[in-house]
Each structure stands twice: as structure tokens, then as C-alpha cells.
């Protein structure tokens, strides 16, 4: 069912008002009729929803305002004695016909108006409550942020090695250790180092290309798992980010090299990638795996922090 506002009710209300006003005009002169015509034009030119949203004091006030807005006795040039006593120009003359209408129809319409008024106010209260909640959250976030920065300043003042917030992926030691443990493959190592230098110089897009080229040349190479890990990381920092490609690379590393020393970090990263992609269940699964399978690895702590913050 398509949801609609209630134009019929609004239109009905207006035709009702207009009917009352018209009966009051039986004895007025040409000038008053012209004023009434102007009033009608003004009513028609108003947006349909405005009566439901602009008045806050019920129909009496709305009628007063409508009449007052169009016919302003103080400003209007004096055109003749007769026009001064025109009932329709006088707010008090219209008011009784609206305010004192205690017929059933009048009451029903008034109740409907009040209901719409309450609905509108309800909406406003809901929106303001939401804004207050968001402001409170923002305030807390700001506080935490400032607190963190102050803590960093303190750390600089009293130098101690503090742990990086994000796990540094393949560090050079792990690369060199795997490299030195086997017969050197010069070309492969050079190609890998080349790609790695691009990461260090923060040329991420070129690094992505370099690692992909590396993998197509040495798909089964010694550094292939490291290259997959880097690609996973890189696909998250390039613009636009490619979480799906990141996930594929992490997953490949996990599936093909289950014993590799980057597996704990890879699990943690898979948790984050799935969270990014909106797969909360799988995200949670991976994060739990890090904690369960590699409890002493730093990635386990990152995973726990991430769970605490996001689940």
C-alpha cells in the first residue's frame, strides 16, 4: 500500500472554511468581494500540506491569520467608508462562525485537526530526541578522542615503546627470514622487494599492480603468501576500496597457506573485511577464530577490541 498524506482532508477543511466565509458575505460590497477573492487566491496558492504544518493554535487562529495576512487594515489604502465595516475583513467576525461551531461536523473536523497537530508535534519530539541522542554520542566520541590524543602526548613526553594501533602486516623480518631459509631465487626476490618498496613509498595503486604482476609471474613462489597478504591490505587502502578483492586475497592465503605466520593477522583482517561488507556473522566467526586459535598473538587482542567496539 502506497502511503499518502491526506490531501482530501486538507481540501475538505478548506472548502468547509470557504463555505462559512461565503455565507457571511451576503451583504458586502464590491471592494469586500475583491478582498475575499484575494483571500481565496492566497488560500489556493498555499501548499497543500501547509495548513497541517504551519498553524499551531487550531483552526480559530488559522482563520485569523489567513484573514490578517491578506487584508491588512493598517496598510491598505483607504478607499471608502463602507469597506471599513466589512465583516470578512474583521477577524472577530469570522472567528465566531468557526470557533463556536459545535455541530458534530465541526467537532469532528476539529478533532482531526488536533490529531494532525499532535502527530506533527510527535514527529518533532521524536526528531529532537534523536538529535539529542546523536549529540550525546558525538560528545562522548570527542571526549574519547581528546583523551587518546592527550595520552599520546604523554607517551611522547615519556618515551616508551607503545604498540601500534593497527597490526603492522608483513614486516621485513618475516620476509627476510623466509627468504634466507631457502635457496635464493634472485628474480622473485627482486620483484617482491620492488613491489614492497612501492608500499613503503605509499604508492598503493602501483603496489597493487606490482603485487598482481608478481603473483602472475610467481604464483607458487616463496613470497606468494606475503604478496596475497599485502594485496589484501592494499585493496582496503586504495580509492575506491575493494573489500571483495581484499577478502579474496586474505581467504586465499588462509586456504592455501594455513601454516603461514601471517595467518592470525589474516583471520583478524578477514573479520574486519566481512564487517565492512556487512556480513556480521562471518566477521564474528573470524574474529572468534583468532581469539580461539591464536590466543597469545597480538591479533587476538585486536580481534577482542574490535568485537567489544562493534558487536
Amino acid at each position: 500500500m502506497r502511503f499518502l498524506t491526506k490531501p482530501t482532508l486538507v481540501v475538505g477543511f478548506f472548502s468547509y472554511c470557504w463555505g462559512v466565509a461565503a455565507t457571511a458575505q451576503d451583504y458586502i460590497d464590491v471592494e469586500a468581494e475583491r478582498a475575499a477573492q484575494r483571500r481565496a487566491d492566497a488560500v489556493q496558492s498555499m501548499p497543500v500540506e501547509s495548513p497541517a504544518s504551519s498553524d499551531s493554535l487550531g483552526e480559530t487562529a488559522s482563520t485569523d491569520r489567513t484573514a490578517g495576512a491578506v487584508v491588512q487594515p493598517g496598510i491598505r489604502p483607504y478607499t471608502g467608508a463602507t469597506t471599513l465595516a466589512v465583516p470578512v475583513d474583521d477577524p472577530t467576525a469570522v472567528k465566531p462562525s468557526m470557533g463556536d461551531d459545535n455541530s458534530l461536523g465541526g467537532l469532528v473536523i476539529r478533532i482531526q485537526r488536533l490529531q494532525e497537530e499532535i502527530m506533527r508535534l510527535n514527529g518533532r519530539v521524536e526528531e529532537q530526541a534523536d538529535q539529542i541522542r546523536k549529540l550525546q554520542e558525538q560528545g562522548l566520541e570527542r571526549y574519547i578522542d581528546i583523551d587518546r590524543r592527550l595520552a599520546q602526548l604523554d607517551a611522547i613526553a615519556s618515551p616508551e615503546s607503545s604498540e601500534d594501533a593497527d597490526p603492522e602486516p608483513v614486516d621485513e623480518t618475516s620476509v627476510t627470514s623466509t627468504a634466507s631459509s631457502a635457496a635464493p631465487e634472485i628474480g622473485e626476490k627482486a620483484a617482491y622487494q620492488n613491489a614492497y618498496e612501492l608500499v613503503k613509498s605509499r604508492s598503493f595503486d602501483q603496489a597493487v599492480m606490482a603485487f598482481n604482476e608478481f603473483l602472475s609471474t610467481y604464483p607458487l613462489g616463496r613470497y606468494a603468501p606475503n604478496a596475497h597478504y599485502w594485496l589484501g591490505e592494499l585493496y582496503l587502502v586504495v580509492t575506491p576500496a575493494e573489500p571483495e578483492l581484499a577478502r579474496q586475497n586474505f581467504k586465499l592465503l588462509l586456504d592455501q597457506y594455513p601454516e603461514h605466520n601471517k595467518v592470525p593477522d589474516t583471520l583478524y583482517k578477514l573479520g574486519r573485511v566481512h564487517f565492512l561488507k556487512g556480513n556480521r556473522e562471518q566477521s564474528r566467526d573470524y574474529l572468534n577464530r583468532v581469539i580461539a586459535e591464536h590466543p597469545s598473538h597480538p591479533a587476538a587482542q585486536y580481534a577482542q577490541d574490535f568485537i567489544d567496539q562493534n558487536f
Binding site: 500500500m1 502506497r2 502511503f3 498524506t5 497541517a52 504544518s53 490529531q115 494532525e116 502527530m119 506533527r120 510527535n122 514527529g123 518533532r124 521524536e126 526528531e127 534523536d130 602472475s216 604464483p219 607458487l220 571483495e244 577478502r247 579474496q248 581467504k251 586456504d255 592455501q256 566481512h274 561488507k277 556487512g278 556480513n279 556480521r280 556473522e281 562471518q282 562493534n310
Partner: protein, 431 residues
């Protein structure tokens, strides 16, 4: 044109002879670098012609997901059906990252078995393999299940190809009343079956959580009433016949209750019907319009649309406490919510700059993302794997089905060959 005298023809499981309700799929936007995968024609080991081109169905499913690029058969240098027959160099030469091979073999009592193997052509390794078995009549579904497994292996997300769609197709009749057909089809639009045909409107179809029953609103008695219909037996039951609105039936996740909209007590409100006792419980009580209920997957609360705040917005009703809280705040109009199985993404109709778009609202981050650029989009429904939102939109005078991935990256449309298609409902996973 002559029409049947009866206003209603309940056609149970009669395959739709006319192809007019059949949906076609046009991909309008895919991801930038879809993964090339070669789906080699599956070998048929039985006698006579193969009952169905299984590989073609799998290939079409994967391509429709927008994440895979097809490898044309004419480019294939050989048609292996087993891993041992694959020359990986051949597949690397035509830039195929993955190769899927398989065999279809007959099994006793008119069943078939499909064995499949997925290979990485650069690594020259088998990644995954599997077997599905079922009635030969359901061979298309078996093919979709192969596609589901391949999709999950390569993307990490379960596939939703072996699912079905429910929609209302409308044939306009300029000289008299329109024709409404409640239609059931495979998720790829194939095999449409008309469940109910009527000269009066059919609306708001929805699925039972097990996927074996459907509910809908039919005006066949000249006023709206809610019906449920069993897909196996065809048994049909009228659930409501109240004065005023009887609309938006939605099954609870446990299948025991149904939320619906009734206006028998005044303005439209949300009610809950116990399906075994038929007892009604009124959930909302407000002079505003409360409508379009939808269940959270945990069954503990419902989302619904209400204009109690002056404009239509999404609210949440907590069943334990009866508390009502507003969910959406962005924009003047948010309505017709449907919640993904993760309980996080909510597809809804959102108004922006006077146009009605499909958007996804994330209940955790409270972020709203508009997915479509067309106007007058309505009736979103989410695939059971949460990846695709299907909706109705306008093309010319007809309404067609559009589909967009939850991240907005992939879109395709499913126009009917003729007539209009509206109010899609994507089935849950079918056991």
C-alpha cells in the same frame, strides 16, 4: 477479446502456457573487474539427449551476479568433464581464472546426479568439488545449487540462485477489468507457474519461513481478504474477512503467527494472528496509519510504517514490552521496510527530491544509502543471502522488476515479455 465468465480461476501448479509472465534478465551494471570463469558444458552420461544444459544455467547465474565474466564456449579449446582431462595452459591462454567442469548422470527412479569440480587455472589445483542429486524434473534447481556452491566458494557469501520469486503480473485490459496473476518462478525468472488468476486485484504476496506456503491479499470477493496457500498441496485458506483494510500479511520467523494490517477498529493498525487458533492480538492502537509490518529475523520485534509523526517513517515495535520507537529520521518519507536475514540491513522506499528510490538503512551505523536512480521504485524484497534487493519500478507504462546489490555496485532488471510485474517477494532458502 473474450474472458472467462468466472472472476477467479485458481490454477494450481499448472505451468503457465503463455510465456507472457516469463521474466527476462538484462544486466545494466556489473562490477568493474568481474572474475572470468569458464563453465565447461557438463557431460551427460545417460542415454539420449541431456535433460537440460546444466552448465548454461550455472553460467547464467554466475554472470547475473555481476561478479563473474563468462567465457564463451566457442573460445574453449576443449570440453573436459573431469579434472584429470584439464590442460590448464589452455584455460590460462583464454584468461580464464577458474574452470568449472562436471558430469550429469542418471540415478535410479528418474533422478539425476551432478558431480562438479572447480579449479584454479593458474594454481592448477582443485578448489572445491561437490555432488547434488534430485528429481530430473528439478534439474534446473540442481543446477542453481551448483551455482550456489561455486558462488560461495569464490566469494565467501552463500549463493541465492536456488530460490524462488513470487510476484503479481498484471495484464491490462483496456475494455474491461485487468487480469491479475499471482506467479511463482525460479529466481532466474524461469518456469513461471500461476498460483492464482483473478479479475480483481491480488496484492502483498509473502512467503512462509520454510518456503512451503504463501500468503496474499485477494479482492476476489470484491473486498480485500487475506489468504494462505500451501505450495505442495494447493490447499487454500481464507484467514480474514473484516470490513475495511485486510493487508500486508507477513509470517513470523517461527511460522506460528502472522502480522497483518486491519482497519476494522478504525484507522489501519498492526495485528498479530495466531495461525493455529486464529486469535487476533492488536499491536498498535493509534489514529495514525500503521501499516507494512515486517519481522526482525529474531522474531522479537517488528518494523512498520507509520505517519504518527506527521510523515511516513519506519518504527519498531518490541513484542515483549510493547514499546514503539522511531527508526528512520532521514528525509520526509521512509516506508515499506524489509529486513535482511542478518538483522542489520533494511531495504525501504525513500523519498529524495520528490522521487521515490530504494534505499538500504543500516540499523547498526544508522546510515541510509540510496541504491537506485529511477523514480517510483517500490516494494523492495531482499534475497535470502542478503546480497540483492529486488523491487518494482516503472518502465514506460509498465512496471518491471529491478534488482540492485546491497552495496549498489550491481544492477539488473527483469522485465516481463509483456504486461506489468509488481510486488516481488523473494523466497527464503528452500529446504
Amino acid at each position: 477479446m473474450r474472458f472467462f465468465n468466472t472472476t477467479l480461476l485458481a490454477l494450481w501448479l499448472v505451468a503457465c502456457g503463455s510465456a507472457q509472465a516469463q521474466l527476462q534478465i538484462e544486466i545494466t551494471q556489473g562490477i568493474d573487474n568481474p572474475t572470468p570463469i569458464a563453465v565447461v558444458p557438463f557431460a551427460w552420461t545417460g542415454t539420449g539427449a541431456a535433460p537440460e544444459d546444466v552448465a548454461r544455467i550455472v553460467d547464467a547465474d554466475l554472470v547475473r551476479s555481476g561478479q563473474f565474466a563468462p567465457v564463451e564456449r566457442r573460445d574453449m579449446l576443449s570440453f573436459p568433464s573431469r579434472g584429470s582431462d584439464i590442460y590448464f595452459r589452455d584455460w590460462r591462454a583464454i584468461n580464464s581464472d577458474y574452470v568449472l567442469v562436471g558430469r550429469v548422470e542418471p540415478a535410479p527412479s528418474s533422478r539425476v546426479r551432478i558431480n562438479w569440480q572447480l579449479f584454479d587455472s593458474s594454481r592448477e589445483q582443485e578448489i572445491e568439488a561437490g555432488t547434488v542429486e534430485g528429481s530430473v524434473l528439478e534439474i534446473r534447481m540442481l543446477a542453481h545449487r551448483v551455482a550456489d556452491a561455486v558462488y560461495e566458494t569464490l566469494t565467501g557469501i552463500p549463493g541465492a540462485f536456488a530460490t524462488r520469486l513470487l510476484y503479481v503480473s498484471v495484464t491490462r485490459n483496456p475494455t474491461g477489468k485487468d487480469f491479475y496473476r499471482l506467479t511463482l518462478a525460479d529466481a532466474d525468472g524461469a518456469r513461471p507457474i500461476v498460483l492464482l488468476e483473478s479479475r480483481e486485484p491480488i496484492m502483498a504476496p509473502s512467503w512462509s519461513p520454510a518456503g512451503d506456503e504463501v500468503a496474499y491479499v485477494s479482492f476476489e470477493t470484491s473486498r480485500p481478504a487475506i489468504y494462505r496457500q500451501n505450495l505442495r498441496t494447493g490447499a487454500r485458506e481464507q484467514l480474514t474477512n473484516f470490513t475495511g483494510l485486510n493487508n500486508s500479511p507477513v509470517w513470523s520467523p517461527d511460522g506460528k503467527q502472522m502480522a497483518m494490517v486491519l482497519s476494522k477498529d478504525g484507522s489501519p493498525d498492526i495485528y498479530l494472528m495466531d495461525l493455529s487458533t486464529k486469535r487476533l492480538r492488536r499491536l498498535t492502537r493509534h489514529y495514525a496509519i500503521d501499516t507494512e509490518p515486517t519481522w526482525m529475523p529474531d522474531g522479537k520485534s517488528l518494523l512498520f510504517t507509520s505517519d504518527r509523526g506527521g510523515r511516513p517513517q519506519i518504527y519498531r515495535y518490541d513484542l515483549a514490552s510493547g514499546a514503539i520507537s522511531r527508526v528512520t529520521f532521514e528525509g520526509p518519507f521512509n516506508a515499506r521496510a524489509r529486513v535482511a536475514q542478518d538483522g542489520r540491513n533494511v531495504a525501504l522506499v525513500h523519498q529524495r527530491d520528490g522521487r521515490f528510490h530504494i534505499a538500504v538503512f543500516d540499523l547498526v551505523t544508522e546510515r541510509l544509502t540510496v541504491l537506485t536512480s529511477t523514480d517510483l521504485d517500490e516494494s523492495p524484497t531482499i534475497a535470502p543471502n542478503g546480497s540483492i534487493v529486488l523491487y518494482a519500478t516503472k518502465r514506460g507504462d509498465d512496471s518491471i522488476l529491478g534488482a540492485v546489490s546491497v552495496d549498489g555496485g550491481i544492477s539488473f532488471s527483469l522485465p516481463a515479455r509483456s504486461g506489468s510485474v509488481q510486488e516481488p517477494a523473494w523466497s527464503p532458502y528452500i529446504q
